[in-house]
Symmetry: C3
Subunit: 362 residues, 3 copies
């Protein structure tokens, strides 16, 4: 049985197969409308996320399946002190597949460890949100005809944006990809991402103003910049307009450029841009549904080629070592065994099997 | 594509066709039980309303369709600052039709402006609740055999009751209708309704005590009177019993009179009245389901005759004019264009395209 | 029409038929997967209970039916002051069967009195939770091959545990059953249960330490002991480990013993026990789904033999007598008629028809 906890759980080839399946569904949805007859998806949302939840539910319903679940922790057994592992084990009695969102890092991995049905991570705190990344990849694949040889502009808050980090990591698996990172100095990508890009010899450039990037990008991925994250009010006032995409800035862009946004937006894209055919963020929402349909089929073993069992080595308990990440599920639910993977190339470090935090100790 | 924002969006003929379709469904529900196979209704309830939501959901399920959505704003993206227009646009990717309830006036119109699927207004603050009005009309049509030549008694809080105002407006489109308005002086219908009735030469009478109206009405439409809305405690004590329908008052009524109530009731109808065959408020709840089934079929183009495109003129931006209603959606979501319709017969006034508030300024 | 309000509403024979039907469904679920096509279950949960609600919803979906409802009182009309009777009457227009959970004792009975479809009590405060009891019986029936000649160990908080009381009462209907009651002195079963056991000559023994019961029981029913319910901190510290089932204690038990738990658990069963084949609490959750499938079929008249109309005598109003239980639904919703059943063998007492509280007054 396979789960989807991180976007990197799928190999490049598996990702490609998934995207092709999603496009086949987009082109002929009726051929797929009964493949999940009699199947049930449980949407276990320990924190609200309407868009993601409705996208999963629409996906399952369009495959002929049914949906049950909850949309916030208030209506769940979590208040009674149950672990996510137990919840996932019990819900495995009621559903054929689980999509889970949880505010704590590593919660989806903890659920997968005990579930007897596939678990899809629909967001675990600041950690992973793999179906968003797959949605982004499908949108690019669909409207740019592939994932290679593209200049990807990412604009806004590149420091805290989980979505942005995952997309960079995912796009690095494709040849000829170049990044243009547009942000105020205080919201540049974290060092580890810059180091990864440098180490892998991926061409990238960091600029401060969106105007300076518009004419080069094939894809412009917009995100929100929150006022309170600027270093100073002066900086905010100087730069804020630069991070608002409007019709004037769109005039600078290539004719076949596409604009993406994970949504919801607040004011970082002017409503007038919606009418520009290059604005693809609503089609992106549609892609989110189709890629989830493909994913459900793959995880349930209802689409060829099947996903093979994950070859990942089993994580292990390391005597007297606990995960040091205070936001990790192991910090919140003490019953969980502390499990670790080795870190390649450094025998002294290991990586928490739930939240991926690197810990010393071997 | 047609939406339903106000009860008056449907012409008299369209309303008649809708009610006849609803009655056909009531008489042979199985003939309609697969017409929405593969279709999805999104119930976007930004404020809770169990009865209305369940009625919509039951309607869609009985047509063979499926349902997704949310039942309160807490579980929605609204908290993240998304406009209802964007929410409606995105949900159009997940569903074939939307039923939306929102606490702000004009929210449904704002949603319809961007949605790519039909939007049904399931209540927008104190503004419209068209499916309640259609429910009332179907109940009358079903149990009185038509909508003409009826004396309609309306009892309770006639000042603040949106339901009552809409029903009066809707019944005024039928010949031979007469109104008996039963309320304490401080809770009489608003002036604009009294003026409309006078202007249209619709016979009406205002009385203070329900006992004085019982023997004349063909339909008695009960609503709740909240204690805090009386002008004084003395008034409340003097009048409160007069607005409670009990078996004694039922003895004064015609044998073929029917009692309606939008529900939920608190104590304005004594439980003993439930056993009187003239009590039709629970059948009214049933009618609510059937009229919503008919409406869904009509808006999805699945029932003949189809609804033609709305002929209403496009609303326009009027330079430097904003809607003056502080409860209007344009006051809450600043990104929305301020759109207006002209007011017939007065070139100096216009009407907000969202909340219908009359504004000066031309 | 039959409802299920108390586990004792079903006769021994009806219970047996229900359990056999549930086992037939477990063995061949596909034979039952369309029996509820076109039917709808309403889950009216006035207080959250994820596990119970999802179990009901999964049950209805696996029968081919559909589900609507609400998962907490916040999203319901209760806030507007509607009685549960009216809610049940209206929801009868939208669904074919109702499962209701409510924090007030007797609420399910009040709903059943006005509903025009079968009502299943999914928990009414501290009063009844009959589908949990049926779940327990099915699990025992399935894994012990019957309900007779068994030694049932019940461990933990036996004073406040509604689940435990109902199970004892239910098991007393079968021959050769013996009870081992394991609890701290301050959390022993209430006197009325001890008296019932004595009066009926059911063999039972009360012990303080789980270790002393392990080798005798055929079934070990674990429940949680909350720290704040111990008489003193010293008592808690002395006894707490005794009520935690771990692998060491499992070594003392029979090879064919089974461990049950109503779930969610906190720490009263160590996670290592999950791997013991005698641990059956997750299969118990699965049984919960199947017994609810059987129950829905029985109450909808879709499974032979049908349940006959309940032969119970109609409850009556007794002039000037009100139920004395402050937690009874009649105390909270004043419109309800106060109805009573006679108490067998004592002409001076009667029993509230909603909450079963014994009241003087005849």
């Amino acid at each position: 049985m396979r789960h989807l906890i991180s976007p990197m759980d799928l190999s490049v080839q598996e990702t490609e197969e998934l995207l092709l399946l999603a496009e086949r569904i987009m082109d002929a949805p009726k051929d797929f409308s009964h493949l999940c007859d009699g199947k049930k998806l449980a949407t276990l949302f320990f924190e609200p996320s309407t868009r993601t939840r409705l996208s999963f539910e629409a996906a399952m319903l369009e495959l002929g399946g049914q949906v049950l679940g909850f949309s916030s922790a208030d209506s769940s057994s979590a208040a009674k002190g149950e672990t996510v592992s137990d919840t996932a084990r019990v819900v495995s009695c009621y559903a054929d597949i689980i999509a889970m969102r949880h505010p704590i890092e590593g919660a989806a991995a903890a659920a997968a460890a005990k579930a007897t049905v596939p678990v899809i991570n629909a967001g675990d705190g600041g950690h992973h949100h793999p179906t968003q990344t797959l949605t982004d990849l499908l949108t690019i694949h669909r409207w740019k005809g592939g994932l290679r040889n593209l200049t990807v502009g990412l604009c806004g808050d590149l420091k805290y944006g989980r979505t942005v980090h995952s997309l960079i990591k995912a796009m690095c698996r494709y040849e000829g990809v170049r990044f243009l990172l547009v942000s105020p100095p205080e919201l540049r990508v974290p060092d580890y991402i810059r180091e990864d890009l440098t180490a892998g010899s991926f061409p990238f450039q960091e600029v401060e103003r969106l105007e300076d990037a518009m004419d080069q990008v094939d894809i412009l991925y917009m995100t929100r910049v929150q006022r309170e994250r600027f270093a100073s009010e002066a900086d905010y006032l100087r730069l804020k307009d630069s991070y608002i995409l409007d019709t004037a800035k769109m005039k600078l862009a290539k004719e076949d450029m596409i604009v993406l946004h994970p949504l919801p937006r607040v004011n970082e894209i002017a409503p007038q841009v919606d009418n520009d055919p290059r604005a693809r963020y609503f089609e992106q929402a549609l892609c989110g549904k189709y890629v989830r349909m493909a994913l459900i089929l793959k995880l349930l073993g209802l689409a060829r080629p099947s996903l093979p069992e994950a070859a990942a080595p089993q994580p292990q308990i390391i005597p007297s070592l606990s995960c040091g990440n205070p936001k990790c599920i192991t910090a919140v639910q003490p019953g969980l065994p502390h499990l670790f993977h080795p870190v390649e190339g450094n025998a002294h470090l290991c990586r928490c099997a739930y939240c991926d935090h690197t810990c010393g100790g071997k």
